[in-house]
């Protein structure tokens, strides 16, 4: 019954157990569901793993860091200190001395997006690998 089966040569060791009998219906279900979950995680997190955060001040790079390292960065500008928070794989401008607070109200910055605190001349970019016509 095992002849021609890949495990046939292992037969003396395995005692001719039919491997199909070792799997119950729920096992197939669990394996399929967990494989789907892992695949979904891979797809959802794709490009996230090497994600970088680029903080610029007056057009010059102030700090380049990973989005995986939680930290609070203080960037001194002409108006005062802009605080940038990196936490849990996300980044946002926590506080800014500018009058209209546009970059603070923008909230968490998405992949490939940037927040500009123009009065204080600070910009925060979240660089994933995002291809568009400009990248080419």
């Amino acid at each position: 019954m095992c002849e021609g089966h890949p495990f046939a040569r292992l037969r003396p060791l395995l005692g001719g157990i039919d491997w199909r009998l070792l799997m119950r219906p729920g096992d197939w279900l669990v394996m399929g569901a967990s494989l789907a979950a892992v695949t979904a995680l891979w797809l959802a997190g794709h490009g996230d793993v090497g994600d970088r955060v680029l903080i610029k001040h007056e057009g010059r790079v102030f700090l380049e860091t990973s989005i995986r390292l939680n930290r609070l960065v203080e960037v001194p500008g002409p108006l005062g200190i802009t605080r940038v928070e990196i936490r849990g794989g996300r980044v946002r401008v926590l506080s800014d001395p500018g009058p209209r607070q546009l970059c603070v109200r923008q909230g968490w910055i998405g992949p490939g997006e940037a927040a500009l605190c123009l009065p204080n001349r600070v910009s925060v970019e979240r660089g994933g690998i995002v291809y568009d016509s400009l990248s080419y």
Binding site: D27, S34, R68, L69, N70, R71
Partner: protein, 180 residues
């Protein structure tokens, strides 16, 4: 003045002997596994869980809990990692995977076999470890982005260990391997 002697006798029931023997086998696998060089911390085959699974399916949850916890503590003592972060990691993984597998087999005793339980247990084990690392050991680093590769490894090792445990259970029932 009469001498009083204290006689203390410990009775070891058959269950105790069986648990001790199986835990010893699991500790052996833990030690063998520690000798295998592995590329990443936290990525290991978890061979000792083969014993845990076979015990869970054949003798029930409380025996499996005994065997697993004895294995974790004795293995850590032998490897010199007792009460270190690596012991906490392996204990938290073992506890959560025990809970998950126990719950699963209680809910679906007919539907699930060792392979499904093993995959569930491997996921729980890996999840608990990632959580402990993320919350306690390295709170400054968000590790959750690393979950996909770790869970992929858990899926593969869970499948392999589950098949091995399924084979072991059949072999034990035939009286060919390790039963008493």
């Amino acid at each position: 003045m009469p001498r009083t002697e204290l006689h203390l006798t410990l009775f070891a029931a058959d269950d105790d002997r069986r648990i001790a023997a199986l835990a010893a086998a699991a500790v052996g696998l833990t030690l063998a596994e520690a000798a295998i060089p592995l590329p990443l911390p936290g990525v290991k085959p978890g061979l000792a869980n083969i014993i845990g699974l076979a015990v869970l399916c054949r003798y029930g949850w409380s025996s499996a809990a005994w065997v697993t916890l004895l294995r974790v503590v004795a293995g850590a003592l032998l490897l010199g990692t007792f009460l270190t972060p690596s012991f906490v990691l392996s204990l938290s993984g073992a506890l959560l995977s025990l809970l998950c597998m126990g719950l699963a087999i209680r809910l679906y005793p007919r539907l699930l076999g060792p392979v499904g339980l093993s995959v569930l247990g491997a996921f729980a084990h890996m999840g608990a470890q990632l959580l402990v690392v993320n919350l306690w050991l390295m709170p400054a680093v968000s590790l959750l982005g690393l979950a996909p590769p770790f869970l992929t490894v858990a899926w593969i090792t869970g499948l392999v260990n589950g098949l091995a445990a399924a084979w072991l259970i059949v072999a034990m029932a035939d009286g060919r391997a390790g039963d008493e």
